[in-house]
């Protein structure tokens, strides 16, 4: 559905200053019906890449094909299959109602709003906005505005939907609802969704594959499942009553696999990466040396946030 070849973007520098390379020779493809997470730290080149896919930023070099159409050669034809939410809840008119926004943007995307009554009703219902259809967008909650912005992107019936930080600033409930909706859209409508996010819950829960970029380059491109497997390390969390002695603290910190996550006179939490089984005995030995009462030993679930951080720290060679 999307093919990106050797894409590069260098922002011109100001008055004699060198340009800034935001995207550095990246290539990737996205299949029809795929929900792809495009991740990276701030300034990694995510938004620049997404905006190049929308034809809003001109690449310095490289090519982008959408449904086989060269975006740089035939911009309007290629974009007929793309819609996007780039500015979150700012992508809609705040002084128009939910329904008016959907109708207006349908016409802007070349559709007849009068023939889309069923679709408009469907999306209002899908996004739980039916009761708010006649409410001005500025009076909706942020989560509802965000959902409306996504509904506006979907009403165009484009095959590709690009979402830049769709859950940014939302509470847990709204964020959960949006990722359920995204999964539903991909599953039921076969749309291709690319999203950038810092919310690893969204990635782990909704994305089938992720591309991780850092300093403009792709550092990982694999399925969420594979990356979780690849970086599978058992982590144990040991909770101890009371604080640690100076000797205990020194001994624990000398072990690379150990992190003292929390320490107070009441309770201390230590996480241990179990790369070899001996390490756990050594940690327990240090705690026993001062008869520190162990309250619990729990195994941490491997999560995508940890995988993501490990990849950025340079553990991606295998990915």
């Amino acid at each position: 559905m999307i093919q990106v070849e050797a894409l590069e973007k260098v922002y011109p520098g100001r008055k004699g200053q060198a340009g800034v390379k935001a995207v550095d020779n990246i290539s990737f493809g996205v299949h029809e019906g795929e929900l792809l997470g495009f991740l990276g730290p701030n300034g990694a080149g995510k938004t620049t890449t997404v905006k190049m896919l929308c034809g809003l930023i001109r690449p310095s070099s490289g090519r982008i094909f959408i449904n086989g159409i060269d975006l740089l050669q035939r911009r309007i034809s290629a974009l007929a299959d793309v819609s996007a939410v780039l500015e979150g809840n700012r992508n809609i008119y705040w002084r128009l109602t939910a329904q008016e926004n959907l109708e207006f943007f349908a016409a802007v995307r070349g559709l007849n709003p009068a023939r889309l009554r069923n679709e408009i009703g469907y999306y209002l219902k899908l996004f739980n906005l039916t009761e708010k259809r006649d409410v001005e967008a500025r009076k909706l909650s942020r989560g509802m505005q965000q959902k409306l912005a996504i509904a506006v992107a979907l009403i165009s019936q484009s095959k590709v939907v690009l979402l830049d930080e769709p859950t940014l600033g939302l509470d847990v409930q709204a964020s959960y609802e949006i990722r359920q909706l995204l999964k539903q859209i991909v599953k039921e409508q076969g749309r291709t969704v690319i999203l950038t996010t810092h919310d690893m819950n969204v990635v782990q829960d909704a994305c089938q594959r992720v591309i991780i970029v850092n300093e403009g380059r792709i550092v990982a491109n694999d399925s969420v499942h594979n990356l979780l497997d690849l970086f599978k390390v058992k982590v144990y969390r040991i909770t101890v009553q009371g604080g640690l002695t100076a000797e205990q603290r020194q001994a624990l910190l000398a072990m690379e696999e150990v992190i003292i996550e929390e320490e107070s006179p009441i309770q201390t939490a230590i996480s241990v990466r179990l790369e070899e089984s001996q390490i756990l005995y050594r940690v327990i030995g240090v705690l026993e040396s001062n008869h520190s009462p162990i309250e619990s030993i729990d195994q941490d679930q491997n999560n995508f946030e940890r995988v993501f951080l490990q990849i950025l720290e340079g553990g991606s060679q295998g990915a």
């Binding site: 922002y11 935001a22 809003l56 930023i57 979150g88 802007v108 995307r109």
Partner: protein, 259 residues
């Protein structure tokens, strides 16, 4: 073409919805324009009493003021739209239109033309009633002249809109354009031929010949009308060209939707 009609219809509907939804603001804007007009007339009559200017120039003032408001509204429909859409975050959505941004802005300008026409008609009626002067309102003669004149102000709007995309935050400079438009309305393009090449000035002179001089299109001469429209189209294309150049710069800099 049907799809372009739907686009135009969507902009009409949006204009109408916002006009009605914010009626107080819309009416307040018109009252402000009317009060400014009254102040101008008051000042003008004071000067006239001092220097003994002829009564017919009050008609010129009415026509000039109303035409200036029309030109200013058209200019703002383009420039202000680009600025506001960038500020509010919707410009990038319009850029992803299946019609292309040029058509989107075209639809916006045409929809704006009709809403501005209503506003200008009300303002003109109020101005005529207040001053007691009468002007020739030959609709079919005025229509092509007004459209030709507004092409120039739309061209200026595109040029300023384009510069805004690249430079951002230039509101203090763009305010100067409204004074430039006053100068263009008042430029003596009827007498000084080179001034006909200025945006809007040729049209302004011909509109004065209809509304103040009582002439119609055939008396003005179709050559003049055609030349004025061609110059207007030239200004529109030049302004749009500047806009497209700036748009490409903004796309290279990655600042298209920023403000």
């Amino acid at each position: 073409m049907l799809r372009k009609g739907l686009l135009l219809q969507a902009f009409f509907k949006k204009e109408l919805i916002l006009f009605r939804r914010y009626l107080h603001n819309s009416v307040g804007g018109m009252i402000t324009l009317y009060v400014i007009f009254l102040l101008l007339v008051g000042g003008f009559q004071g000067v006239r009493a001092l220097v003994g200017v002829g009564a017919d120039t009050l008609e010129g003032l009415v026509v000039g003021y109303v035409l200036w408001i029309f030109m200013l509204s058209t200019y703002q429909d383009v420039w202000y739209t680009v600025r506001t859409e960038a500020q509010e975050g919707t410009l990038e959505q319009l850029y992803m239109s299946a019609h292309g941004f040029g058509w989107v802005m075209g639809a916006k300008v045409v929809a704006g033309f009709f809403t501005n026409l209503i506003m200008v008609a009300v303002l003109l009626a109020a101005a005529l009633l207040t001053t007691g002067v009468s002007v020739n309102l030959d609709f079919w003669s005025l229509l092509p002249l007004v459209i030709g004149t507004l092409l120039g102000s739309a061209g200026i709007g595109f040029a300023v809109g384009g510069i805004t995309l690249v430079l951002k935050r230039i509101d203090s400079y763009t305010q100067m354009v409204q004074f430039l438009l006053i100068a263009l309305v008042g430029a003596p393009a009827g007498r000084i031929i080179w001034m006909r090449l200025l945006p809007c000035s040729y049209g302004s002179a011909l509109i004065n010949r209809v509304m103040v001089g009582g002439q119609n299109l055939s008396q003005i001469g179709f050559g003049h009308v055609a030349a004025m429209i061609l110059i207007g189209v030239g200004h529109l294309l030049a302004g749009y060209g500047i806009y497209k150049f700036c748009e490409q710069r903004a796309m290279i800099q990655g600042t298209l939707g920023h403000y």
